[in-house]
């Protein structure tokens, strides 16, 4: 559960056109180089010195994947109504209100339909800046609608995961979204329509244990943390430190859990190539 740690970069802009964030420069955690923010934006948040992948917002992600950077958003207005009336140290309803105001988004996923390499595709992209990209009822409903839209229009599906897992403040309703989305993916599978899962940093918990691992192709970004249990939970269970690189994309590739690890700057081309193979 890493999502309540401070985000590494400023909140993404709610508009479709990327705004240059406040700071003029950022330090790369990979190589410690000082990077100009506008260069980083132009480079899709990848360090041009060492290739470190900074987190990318959902809008920027969709712009990068869809042909011409354009798409039609599905079900943008859906919002959580706080079904459990959940309160921890503060009311969830208040947390939702503030997050909606600060991000300009209604929840942690944007679903768009458009084209990739000339083929119809639906892309769902999770946004970590919205309560850690956590999956609650709105994420479940929007992704399910996206998959059903793809089935109705014979389109392929891409889901970009970036999430700490299920949203605790929606309790077992969040847990059940794993089953709901997976059921929709079963129908997509039986329709022989392609599903590409793109796993980005971080992809953990119930998101990994459902749609993120169900791709016809599972593709990850370099260095992404991918796992079911969070590293701290595992360390507490086994009472020892985890080895370097454990649960990183390259580790999963070696263990046979991923088809590919692909640099963000090549992802659009690779996904278009894959859809050409899969979308018959």
């Amino acid at each position: 559960m890493a999502w309540f740690k401070k985000a590494r970069k400023p909140l993404p802009s709610p508009q479709k056109v990327s705004r240059v964030p406040e700071g003029l420069w950022e330090k790369c955690p990979g190589c410690e180089a000082i990077l100009y923010t506008k260069d980083l934006v132009a480079n899709h948040q990848v360090c041009d010195k060492c290739g470190h992948h900074f987190r990318l917002g959902a809008v920027e992600r969709l712009s990068l994947l869809f042909d011409g950077g354009t798409w039609h958003e599905l079900a943008p207005a859906l919002r959580s109504n706080d079904p459990l009336r959940f309160t921890d140290t503060k009311p969830y309803a208040e947390r939702l209100r503030k997050t909606i105001a600060s991000t300009g988004r209604n929840d942690a996923v944007i679903v768009g339909s458009g084209r990739i390499g000339g083929r119809d595709a639906v892309v769902a992209s999770m946004d970590y800046s919205f309560i850690g990209g956590s999956m609650g009822v709105v994420v479940g409903e929007k992704i399910t609608r996206g998959i059903e839209h793809a089935i109705a229009h014979r389109a392929g599906v891409v889901i970009v995961s970036c999430s700490g897992g299920a949203r605790m403040m929606e309790g077992a309703l969040s847990l059940m979204q794993m089953a709901k989305i997976s059921a929709a993916l079963a129908r997509l599978d039986r329709e022989r329509l392609p599903y590409i899962s793109l796993l980005t940093d971080p992809t953990t918990g119930g998101v990994t244990a459902s749609y993120a691992m169900l791709g016809d192709l599972n593709i990850a970004e370099p260095g992404a943390l991918i796992g079911f249990a969070g590293p701290r939970v595992i360390e507490q269970t086994i009472r020892q430190k985890l080895p370097e690189g454990f649960q990183r994309a390259e580790f999963l590739l070696e263990r046979g859990m991923l088809d590919l690890v692909v640099d963000r700057r090549e992802q659009q081309a690779v996904i278009a190539r894959a859809l050409r193979f899969l979308h018959t």
């Binding site: 709105v138 403040m169 077992a172 309703l173 969040s174 847990l175 794993m178 059921a183 459902s210 269970t237």
Partner: protein
């Protein structure tokens, strides 16, 4: 007498009085007094269990003497033959599966298995399943599908095992594949959440046509202690977290996550496992009959629709 939980302290005092009286020579007066105390215990237990808090239910669901999956198998099924292994890596002892007869019908039984004594608990890894357990479950469910046998899943796990080998061998992928394939498995599937429904580790064998849940079982996205540690930054707030998470059978029935509550003996299933099994028998038989009457297309459509609808209760905002 099963071990008492902390909130059952009022019962404990009376039990000690009875014990003291029983040591003395028996007289009519003393016997009357013992009967009076026993009636008092039943009344107090009835009161306590009629109004259990969420956290108290968690304690009952985790009670060391709570009937396990194999306890129910022994009481409700005949000719059970356990089958082993995922044909990939290993056999996982935290998930059991096998052929059984239920009222004359061949069924596949799958379930998490917690141990009942220390040795068994260790052998069963306390009900924490590894990837092999989920893969064994799917392998055998697909066998049941091939030979047209209904599937009955018993859910009772704290969580999927959070360890290095679980991650290395892809526990997330194993659970995910079960969710997808159980959604379209073409035989009746009945789920019985009889103990701890611990997040993804529970759900990995809990997609089906009917979800039954025991009166004092729990089903949660995260253990209350874990939720408290993250959201309250204080694991001691587990009581508040248990309440907030809405993990009890009545809460989940209201949210449309389960279909039916299976009554337990007053004082919980562990106080009378035979009666607990008899109560489950009635609910299980009815659920299985209802689902078996449906034709395959209608049943799969209803299963999809059931999970498709979960969560709509929590959504607002204009449709396009």
């Amino acid at each position: 007498m099963a071990e008492l939980l902390e909130f059952e302290a009022p019962i404990d005092i009376l039990l000690k009085e009875i014990e003291a009286l029983s040591m003395l020579p028996s007289t009519d007066d003393r016997n009357r007094e013992i009967s009076r105390l026993e009636a008092r215990i039943d009344a107090i237990r009835g009161d306590l269990y009629r109004s259990l808090t969420a956290w108290q239910r968690v304690q009952v669901a985790r009670h060391p003497a709570r009937p396990t999956t194999l306890d129910y198998v022994e009481r409700l099924f005949t000719d059970f033959v356990e089958l082993h292994g995922d044909r990939r890596f290993a056999d996982d002892n935290a998930i059991v599966a096998g052929m059984a007869d239920y009222k004359g019908t061949g069924v596949l039984v799958v379930g998490h298995q917690k141990g009942s004594d220390t040795k068994q608990k260790i052998f069963r890894n306390f009900g924490y399943a590894r990837p092999e357990g989920y893969r064994k479950a799917l392998r055998l469910m697909q066998l049941a599908e091939k030979f047209r046998r209904p599937v009955i899943c018993f859910v009772d796990t704290p969580a999927a095992y959070p360890g290095i080998e679980s991650e290395e061998r892809g526990v997330a992928e194993a659970i995910a594949l079960n969710l997808r394939e159980m959604a379209v498995l073409d035989v009746p599937i009945i789920i019985v959440v009889h103990g701890e429904g611990g997040s993804g580790g529970a759900l990995g064998i809990a997609v089906g046509d009917r979800v039954l849940m025991h009166e004092f079982a729990m089903y949660s996205v995260i253990p209350p202690e874990g939720c408290a540690a993250i959201l309250w930054r204080d694991a001691k707030k587990k009581v508040e977290a248990a309440e907030a998470l809405k993990i009890t059978a009545p809460d989940l029935l209201g949210l449309g996550i389960i279909d039916e509550i299976v009554a337990e003996p007053v004082g919980g299933a562990h106080t009378d496992p035979a009666q607990a099994a008899a109560l489950l028998d009635v609910a299980l038989d009815r659920a299985l009959r209802q689902v078996q009457e449906m034709d395959s297309d209608a049943r799969l459509e209803a299963r999809y629709g059931k999970f498709r609808a979960i969560g709509l209760i929590g959504i607002e905002g204009a449709d396009e």
